[in-house]
Structure formats: structure tokens, C-alpha cells
């Protein structure tokens, strides 16, 4: 996405952690601003596993 000729650079949100708070934050952020680039990092093999 970065540096595409002439296009305004997308704002980027990074999220550290993919258990419960991370996925909720990612989904909400994207809903509020669909143009936002959202990238979530999880150290384990699963996401959304929280309880």
C-alpha cells in the first residue's frame, strides 16, 4: 500500500495481541474508519481465543 503513486498514504493502526481485546479493537477501528489500514500481531498460532 505504501508509496502508491499519487494516492494519499493510508493511516496505519498496529495492534499487539490477538486474544480478546486486540480483535475487538481491530474490528471496531475498521468499522469506524474503513480506510484505516489495520494490522494485528499475535505471538501464538491462534487469534480470538480469549475467554
Amino acid at each position: 500500500m505504501e508509496g502508491h503513486g499519487g494516492m494519499a498514504k493510508k493511516e496505519k493502526l498496529l495492534i499487539i495481541g490477538g486474544s480478546a481485546a486486540g480483535p475487538s479493537a481491530a474490528a471496531r477501528a475498521k468499522r469506524i474508519n474503513p480506510d484505516l489500514e489495520v494490522l494485528m500481531f499475535e505471538k501464538g498460532p491462534f487469534v480470538s481465543y480469549g475467554s
Binding site: 495492534i15 499487539i16 490477538g18 486474544s19 480478546a20 479493537a25 469506524i32 474508519n33 494485528m40 481465543y49
Partner: protein, 394 residues
């Protein structure tokens, strides 16, 4: 347990998810993070405009001789659960020792007993669920014992003896030795804050990340949510660390909305939770007697027992309720409840009462839905509040 997969995140919401990627460093000056791809051992630097720290918490482990043995488990996430299940399926352990007397322990007792494992719980305090009122904890202890769990108190863990395969065979306390072939350490969690702290993110007095009602940290463009950060308790008016999944989801929504340019806030919690120990439901909200006193409240309490439904209805069970309230005003400060039916849902009415700062006298006059299959004309909550109200003017 797994609500969504990375592919679903991408397809449904255009969110990129990188699993097996460990973030190793936050650089708030350059607005960059360092990410280690665990499968390829490669580190990458990525720029952000906004960052959300949702690093969660990890199980605390007691550092004792032999405590790295491969049949000593902790339980925090899905992977831990899979490891425990696989070990039981493969090795068929017969004797498990659980260290700690909290909610994880209580829920796992049922799982182990269902597998016919001899289950010993070692607890520093004299009762299980030591954060709850004694009268509630006593009921929990009785339920454990009736289901064949051995609950041992005042044992100071000393260490583990292992065999040539690196498996624990004996658990030793300062009093005695116990033959075991599996151990579960359930002695609490620690918030994962080290990386944030190193980047200059401020921690609160609980050791978790300090935040505000918008889930901001002290650093610009960095938000936090979930088990790694604090949450405001509306009853004590204090920031606390109470790592629970529902709170994490709610804080996450607010952090996400604000990071995306919105204006959301999370006002806090009253401290509600529920769990099940074999057939016994346990639920609580607000402050316990001791904590309320520590915060300077002049505390009184009222205990009642009542039927969950009209007595002649099949399935009606005894419900035990303790209300904790302020002496002069009668303002409700907390409630704890246990019984084999109708407990976990019922506590929510009292959570609402705490949010609204209601007095026990006001609660006693609430109009609850009534029909014989669901409750009695005087619901157990109304009886408890009525009894509590009488104490105010005596």
C-alpha cells in the same frame, strides 16, 4: 473457543492478522515497532500512526526445584488447554496436584474428576476462592469435598521430585510428600507489560498499564486494552487490575474506536463475575466486606437463604445471598451468591443496582418478573434487601 480465523478477519473485515509474530520492541519516537516472525526468525521494523497494546497476561509460575518438569502445566489460553488435554489422553495420569485455590482451580477440579483423576488442591489460604466472603467459600469447599476433591490448606510448596524422563513423580510441601503424575499451577496471572514499560509507557500501582476512560496510555498515539491494563472500579472509585475476557472485549472496542478517530469511553466496571464448581453456581458483584473496609466504607452485611423458585416447583434449589452495604445510607457495595440453580443470571440485577448506587431499601422495592417456574413472589434478592434494610434503623 476460536471465534475467528485470520482468513476470516481478512475476508470479512479487511484486517491483516499475523500469527506467530512476536512484537519485540516499541519505539514511540520513531513511531515504529519491531516484529519477529517466529517461523522464519526474521525481524522487521514497521511504522504506525496509531498503536494498541493488547498484550494480555500470562500465568504466574512458582519457581521451585523441579518446576520446569514437562508434566507441570499452567492454564491461560487455548494452547494450554490443548496441551493438558493431550497429556491426559496420552499418559492417562491418575493423580493430579493443583496449586492455588482460585477460579481456574475450581473449574479444573470438575474436568479432572470427570476423568476419574485423584485430585488434590493445595491452597495457602484456609478456604477456596479466598477473595470471596468466607460463607461463600465454605459452600464451595463443601461442593469440592462432596465431589471427591481433597482440599489441603496451609501447605507451603517446597518442590518437585522428577524421574529420568523429566516428569514429576512427587510433590513436596514443607509438611508432607504426595505422589502425583500431573501438576497444574494456577496461582494467578501477571500482566504482560515489560515491552510497554521499556518504551516509556506508564504503569499503575497494580503493575498493569495505566490508562484512562478513553484507553489512552501516557504516550501519544498509543492505546491499551485488556488483561495488560487497568480498569476503573465504579464502586471503590479506584483503578484496579481485574483480567477478565468480557472487560477486555469492551476496552478493545473503545481503544479501536478512538484509535480510528472516534470518541468513545469506557466508564469502568462494578466487578461482576460468575463461575461454576461442579453443580454449584457462584456469582458476585461489587466489593467484598474486607475490600470495602479497606476503602474506608462503614460496612454492614446481611446473609439470607431462600428458594430459587416457588417451593413446590420441581427444580427449586436453595440460594444463599450475602449483601454488603454501607451502614448508614444502606447503599449497596457488593453482593455474593451461591446455589445450584438461578444464581449466575440473578446477580446481574444487583450489578445494575451498584451502577445506580441504589440502597438496599430501594432494591427491596424493585419490581421483578415473577412466575412459579422462575422465582418466588418475593425473589431471594428482594428478601435479602428487605432483611438488610431492617438493619439500617435498628
Amino acid at each position: 473457543m476460536v471465534v475467528r480465523t485470520p482468513q476470516q478477519f481478512k475476508e470479512m473485515r479487511d484486517i491483516d492478522v499475523k500469527t506467530e509474530h512476536r512484537v519485540t520492541k516499541i519505539d514511540p519516537k520513531q513511531k515504529r515497532i519491531e516484529v519477529l516472525n517466529l517461523s522464519q526468525s526474521e525481524t522487521q521494523s514497521i511504522a504506525y500512526d496509531k498503536l494498541i497494546i493488547a498484550t494480555g497476561a500470562r500465568s504466574r509460575r512458582l519457581n521451585l526445584p523441579g518446576s520446569n518438569a514437562k508434566n507441570i502445566f499452567t492454564l491461560k489460553d487455548l494452547q494450554d488447554g490443548i496441551r493438558i488435554k493431550n497429556y491426559i489422553d496420552e499418559k492417562r495420569p491418575k493423580q493430579v496436584a493443583i496449586l492455588g485455590g482460585g477460579f481456574i482451580t475450581l473449574e479444573m477440579c470438575e474436568a479432572f474428576r470427570l476423568r476419574n483423576m485423584e485430585t488434590h488442591v493445595f491452597c495457602r489460604r484456609d478456604l477456596p476462592a479466598g477473595n470471596l466472603e468466607r460463607e461463600i467459600s465454605e459452600k464451595i469447599l463443601k461442593e469440592l469435598q462432596e465431589n471427591g476433591v481433597y482440599f489441603l490448606t496451609q501447605h507451603e510448596p517446597a518442590g518437585f521430585k522428577t524421574n529420568s524422563k523429566g516428569e514429576v513423580t512427587t510433590f513436596e510441601t514443607h509438611k508432607a510428600s504426595y505422589q502425583v503424575d500431573m501438576v497444574l499451577m494456577a496461582v494467578g496471572v501477571i500482566p504482560n507489560v515489560e515491552m510497554a514499560k521499556e518504551a516509556g509507557v506508564e504503569l499503575g500501582k497494580t503493575g498493569a498499564i495505566k490508562t484512562d476512560f478513553t484507553q489512552m496510555t501516557n504516550l501519544a498515539n498509543i492505546y491499551t486494552a485488556g488483561d495488560c491494563c487497568e480498569v476503573f472500579n465504579l464502586v471503590s472509585q479506584d483503578w484496579i487490575h481485574t483480567p477478565l475476557g468480557d472487560i477486555a472485549n469492551k476496552q478493545g472496542r473503545v481503544a479501536g474506536e478512538n484509535a480510528a478517530g472516534g470518541k468513545a469511553s469506557f466508564p469502568g466496571v462494578v466487578g461482576s463475575a460468575a463461575f461454576k464448581v461442579f453443580e454449584l453456581e457462584v456469582a458476585f458483584t461489587g466489593l467484598g466486606t474486607q475490600v470495602a473496609r479497606q476503602y474506608g466504607f462503614d460496612v454492614d452485611s446481611q446473609i439470607i437463604e431462600a428458594e430459587s423458585k416457588v417451593g413446590y416447583m420441581p427444580g427449586s434449589k436453595r440460594i444463599f445471598i450475602k449483601l454488603i452495604f454501607e451502614k448508614r445510607s444502606g447503599r449497596l457495595l457488593g453482593a455474593q451468591m451461591t446455589g445450584k440453580e438461578g444464581v449466575a443470571r440473578r446477580i446481574n440485577a444487583l450489578a445494575v443496582a451498584l451502577h445506580q448506587k441504589m440502597s438496599v431499601e430501594e432494591i427491596a422495592r424493585l419490581d421483578f418478573a415473577y412466575a412459579p417456574p422462575f422465582s418466588a413472589p418475593f425473589d431471594p434478592i428482594l428478601i435479602a434487601a428487605e432483611q438488610a434494610g431492617k438493619k439500617l434503623h435498628s
